[in-house]
């Protein structure tokens, strides 16, 4: 329990939307249970409207839950002392254009009640870390979206936080900058910091997160370590050049087929089906190029989950 950084117990948020004479209730979060341990990089996934931002707002004490409990570093999220140990990067932030980087960071340092010496040191450190040192005297309206995103990360790291809540940290960044930010996040995790990462970039989450939780319609539908979750979705891929009657013989099997020029790629999760396909291929003189054990990418698993039960998410 001591290394539990974020803990939610049956966390529920119901929004009341007023429409003329009626009040409509919309479920933002439905009994969310999270248990995020120190040093982990937790990827928080879900389609738009799933409840990710609601969760983040509750974790930051900006929104009151309707029911349930939430503990950040063992305390209530509205506890002022606890907030001093958290860094937060929102998805899209408007920064006041009339300020320079130095000025806005001094403002945030002031909110952390840092003394002038520490303020200078920390500003130098974080600007160096995100590569903005040479731009520190520029007004914010002169910045590109990517530079503002770097500034967002700089302000989130200003207090050297134990817990970092990042909402789409690489949004608007070019591929090189995305890699740099990923590197920074991994290094922070190595230092023992806990990262709560909400992102739509599934490949990014797959690359850096140790744990994931997938949210759908306010409910946590999948959670666990990245390795365990992706292991569940193991399957086989058979690449072959089919003979004429091969296709007719395999119709009875529940498999997916992807024709690729003269080759055919067959995917199945069943060991038995795989063996039967190999047997039929041999019997029909089809040429097997290769048999590959595969596991779903996070992207495929995510899409499958979203399509389960309903078609709420299909692109």
């Amino acid at each position: 329990m001591s290394d539990c950084i974020i803990r939610t117990i049956d966390l529920t948020k119901i929004y009341k939307i007023k429409r003329f004479l009626k009040t409509e209730k919309v479920i933002g979060l439905d009994r969310l249970n999270l248990d995020i341990r120190q040093g982990s990089i937790f990827g928080f996934l879900g389609p738009n409207g799933a409840g990710k931002t609601t969760t983040i707002k509750i974790l930051l004490g900006l929104l009151q839950p309707t029911a349930g409990e939430v503990y950040i570093l063992g305390k209530d999220p509205r506890d002022i002392a606890t907030k001093a140990r958290i860094g937060f990067l929102p998805e899209m932030t408007y920064y006041e254009n009339y300020l320079k980087i130095d000025e806005i960071l001094k403002y945030y340092a002031g909110l952390f009640q840092m003394d002038p010496k520490l303020t200078r040191e920390r500003i130098d450190t974080v600007l160096d870390l995100v590569g903005l040192t040479v731009f520190r005297k520029k007004f914010l309206h002169e910045y590109s979206k990517g530079m503002l995103q770097r500034l967002g990360l700089a302000q989130a790291l200003l207090n050297d936080p134990e817990l970092l809540i990042l909402d789409e940290p690489t949004s608007g960044l070019d591929p090189i900058a995305q890699m740099e930010i990923r590197e920074i996040i991994l290094n922070l995790a190595k230092e023992g910091k806990t990262i709560f990462l909400s992102s739509h970039l599934l490949s990014e989450v797959e690359l850096i997160c140790s744990h994931i939780g997938i949210l759908k319609n306010g409910k946590l539908v999948k959670w666990g370590t990245m390795n365990d979750l992706l292991k569940i979705n193991k399957f086989f891929e058979i690449h072959l050049i089919p003979s004429d009657n091969f296709i007719d013989r395999i119709k009875e099997f529940d498999i997916s087929q992807i024709p690729n020029e003269e080759t055919l790629i067959i995917s199945t999760e069943s060991e038995e089906v795989k063996n039967n396909i190999i047997k039929i291929a041999a019997e029909t003189d089809s040429k097997i190029i290769g048999i590959y054990p595969r596991k779903d990418s996070l992207e495929i698993m995510f899409k499958k989950l979203m399509l389960e039960n309903n078609n709420a998410y299909s692109d």
């Binding site: 930051l60 958290i86 929102p90 403002y107 909110l111 840092m114």
Partner: protein, 256 residues
């Protein structure tokens, strides 16, 4: 908490002083008072009455416009643009945030009142030096009135649209200037309904701006005691704190 308030004020002042609108309004007020001062009437008494009346009321009215421009969107904009998330995710109390913003606005208003006040003291004082003490008092009371108005604007901005905020602020400003005697007179002459108690209650709750108007005494060269100034200033400060407490109650429960 003091470091946090200082940070919020600093940021606010940077914004306000880099916003050219502030300078435009100060220059407008400056020119207005200068033109009021050059107008001459048939006798010296009328000239002074006109100068004092129009300068003090002009200073207040332009100050209200400035307070509205400064305050009506200040917290509201931060909520709409979500930049408030960054501030309130830091270890800062919501009350501190409101207080810092309000103090920032008050510093701007104090700068405005000081600049215009110095001009007025210079214009009046060169021919009527005995007026200066009361004139300084009147200018100080204008500032306190503007401070009360600003606290109202901030409170209303937490739950009203800018248009409604402006309308209600102007209404409060007008109603606040009506004296209780005047209200009683209107009620006895024209209204006999059951709502008299509530009208009186509303008037009692609204700021008593009539206590802040000392123009009459100023023109008649009457001595105003230090105690009176002190009472009115304490009343003003307590009133601002009262509004700030209500603002805090609203803001504390607000889901962002």
């Amino acid at each position: 908490m003091l470091i946090q308030i200082k940070a919020i004020i600093n940021k606010y002042l940077l914004k306000a002083f880099r916003d050219k609108l502030f300078y435009a309004l100060v220059i407008a007020a400056f020119i207005y008072i200068y033109f009021v001062s050059v107008l001459k009437f048939s006798n010296i008494e009328n000239t002074y009455q006109f100068l004092i009346d129009f300068s003090i009321s002009g200073m207040f009215n332009i100050g209200v416009i400035l307070a509205l421009i400064l305050g009506v969107n200040e917290v509201r904009n931060e909520i709409q643009t979500k930049s408030i998330y960054l501030s309130l995710a830091k270890p800062v109390d919501r009350f501190t945030f409101l207080l810092g913003k309000l103090l920032g606005i008050l510093i701007i208003l104090l700068s405005y009142v000081s600049i215009i006040g110095i001009e007025l003291i210079f214009l009046v004082g060169k021919t009527n030096p005995e007026m200066i003490t009361n004139l300084i008092g009147a200018i100080l009371l204008v500032f306190i009135k503007l401070a009360i108005i600003s606290s109202f604007i901030q409170m209303l901005s937490l739950f009203l649209s800018p248009v409604l905020n402006v309308a209600l602020t102007l209404l409060i400003s007008i109603a606040g200037h009506m004296s209780m005697n005047y209200i009683n007179f209107i009620l006895t002459e024209s209204y006999k309904g059951r709502g008299i108690f509530f009208i009186k209650l509303i008037k009692f709750i609204l700021p008593g701006f009539e206590f802040f108007s000392i123009t009459e005494a100023l023109l008649r060269f009457k001595h105003i005691s230090f105690g009176y100034y002190l009472e009115v200033i304490i009343y003003g400060i307590l009133y601002i704190l009262f509004i700030l407490m209500i603002s805090n109650l609203i803001f504390r429960e607000k889901n962002l």
